[in-house]
């Protein structure tokens, strides 16, 4: 017999954004936004999160699809990863995002999993996911940073009481593409840069993004700045499917006559946020796109890394991935 069904909740299935916002306004912290459910149902089945009201966003047509805009494209937050991976517009001009989306989970996860859910997903630190009362869960300890902790998957940068990393594959791609996140709440709409959308424990240890309970991510805009640039996405994980990145890298590079004019690069799996590698961009600018530059930027990328007991390997991994990204292979 199955012993781990979800606890009861009230289910709402609005078909308009305004109705969803009214529900968020009414239920606030007691509401849970549901997209593809691939992250949510784990929490519910493990009974660690027990929302009173679940707001299923899947019926809201205006939150779905990819549109061309004056300056790039706009992707509805409820668009599935499978659709993004095969969408001609995304593939032609912003292939980085299509490549990242194609690396998530498994075909079935991509068929239901959404871009909004992928960027808003919670961290995968198993101590936290198992419901232990750690800092992130409102307690006062970190189970991942003890001498015997299993922290192979944890952070090598920016740990502040919490060692958990951002697990999303699309997040670094969106940071590299300088995407803008469109957020709506009962008060109105605001647009934030992807790199400011993700937050670390020093800002708020209980959240991975700036989204508050009443906020709905409605769309993701990708400016044309890096359209048709040289893209590189690589994810290293223990298994090809069903697995999160140990480290992933996403980069967009504009090369003219063998010289790197501009690059934008971010790594996942190394920090609580996708790590935007500003330093790499500065080192690479104006350099020839070759092995020597790649080596240099790889070293620059991992400067200051502070590994835990079991994740030193991530330093070399990240260094190599960044080098490959800048070299273009």
């Amino acid at each position: 017999m199955i012993t781990d069904m979800m606890t009861p909740f009230e289910l709402y299935q609005p078909s308009r954004v305004d109705d969803a916002l009214a529900l968020l306004n009414r239920y606030d912290k007691d509401a849970w936004k549901l997209a593809g459910g691939n992250d949510s149902f784990d929490w519910f089945k493990d009974r660690i999160k027990r929302p009173r009201a679940v707001i299923d966003l899947n019926g809201i047509a205006e939150l779905k699809g990819v549109r061309e805009t004056a300056d790039g494209i706009e992707i509805g937050a409820l668009t599935t990863l499978a659709e993004i991976a095969r969408n001609p517009l995304v593939r032609q001009k912003y292939g980085l995002l299509a490549d990242a989306a194609r690396k998530v989970g498994s075909p079935q996860i991509r068929n239901s999993g959404t871009l909004g859910g992928n960027v808003a997903q919670d961290t995968r630190c198993w101590y936290y996911r198992d419901g232990l009362p750690c800092h992130r869960a409102g307690g006062n300890t970190c189970y991942a940073s003890r001498p015997t902790s299993m922290n192979r998957e944890h952070a090598i940068f920016g740990a502040n009481r919490c060692m958990a990393v951002n697990a999303s594959d699309t997040a670094p791609a969106l940071v590299a593409l300088e995407a803008k996140m469109v957020i709506r709440n009962p008060q109105g709409e605001r647009v934030v840069e992807a790199k400011d959308f993700f937050i670390g424990p020093s800002v708020d240890i209980t959240r991975m993004t700036i989204l508050t309970p009443k906020d709905l991510l409605s769309a993701i805009r990708i400016p044309s700045k890096f359209a048709n640039a040289q893209f590189y996405f690589e994810k290293v994980s223990d298994r090809e499917a069903f697995d999160f990145a140990l480290v992933n890298v996403a980069s967009a590079t504009i090369v003219k006559g063998g010289v790197i004019e501009q690059s934008s690069i971010a790594c996942g799996g190394v920090e609580s946020v996708p790590r935007h590698l500003k330093v790499v961009e500065d080192v690479a600018r104006g350099e020839r796109q070759n092995d020597a530059t790649a080596k240099l930027v790889g070293q620059a990328a991992v400067r200051g890394a502070a590994p835990l007991n079991y994740n030193q390997f991530k330093i070399v991994l990240m260094q190599n991935l960044v080098a490959r990204a800048i070299r273009g292979a």
Binding site: M5, L11, P107, Q108
Partner: protein, 230 residues
């Protein structure tokens, strides 16, 4: 509260509450709120006894079912129509019920297997509008207007096996067979979209289905055979 009363306020499908239009327009289940218990008390109640209620709530016909209904608005079933294997089925569904649960324990379609119940294995794969999905990670209420196909729905008009099933038999596909319905559904989804897949396309499309017995090569050969017309 009787079950009629609970469902009485809702139009099937539309989710409109006739008793209190306006405020509760979007609510599917809120008419079941118990007036005599404040919301806060109720939430506490569910937290302390949630395990029992939900566990009993899932066992059809179990004595716990009526208690579960009475104790929690979330535990209220609602009668909906589902399109499964070309037929319209009327079924009472809890808000938190997954499609795998509805198919197996309400509709008796036990060909769909449950293994991890976490979107990590593929045993529960079914087609929703011809696309492969994990039914353990799908709310039944979210597929009310979609067309669901399970392994039982693959048979031909006179009960003959689907070409993919035949190929699985020919190639001695399964070992224990537990993952097989899910594998077949993924293969059917692939061939519907792409009748002549390459080796890589087959491997990628099947990567969301694990096989504990390691029958991957057999399945691969079977899909290749089915794509070549048996």
């Amino acid at each position: 509260m009787s079950k009629n009363k609970i469902n009485g306020g809702c139009k099937s499908g539309g989710g409109k509450n006739r008793e209190r239009p306006g405020e509760e327009d979007l609510s599917l289940f809120s008419s079941a709120r118990n007036k005599f218990i404040s919301r806060r008390d109720f939430i506490k109640g569910v937290i302390s006894s949630g395990a029992t209620i939900a566990a009993l709530g899932y066992m059809p016909g179990s004595p716990g079912l009526s208690r579960a209904r009475a104790a929690s608005p979330g535990a209220v079933e609602r009668l909906i129509s589902l399109k499964v294997n070309g037929r319209t089925r009327r079924v009472d569904v809890l808000p938190q019920e997954t499609l795998a649960m509805t198919l197996r324990y309400k509709l008796g379609l036990t060909g769909t297997k449950l293994s991890c119940d976490r979107g990590e294995c593929g045993a529960c794969t079914v087609l929703i509008d011809d696309v492969a999905h994990y039914s353990c990670t799908t709310l039944t209420h979210s597929v009310r207007n979609r067309s669901i196909t399970t392994i039982e729905g693959l048979e031909g008009p006179s009960g003959e096996l689907h070409p993919v099933q035949k190929a699985f038999v020919e190639e001695l596909g399964p070992q224990c067979g537990y993952c097989t319905p899910g594998q077949i559904m993924s293969a059917v989804a692939l061939l519907k979209e792409n009748p002549h897949p390459t080796r890589e396309e087959i491997l990628l499309s099947m990567s969301g289905n694990l096989c504990r017995c390691g029958s991957y090569d057999h399945y691969f050969r079977a899909i290749t055979r089915a794509a070549q017309g048996g």
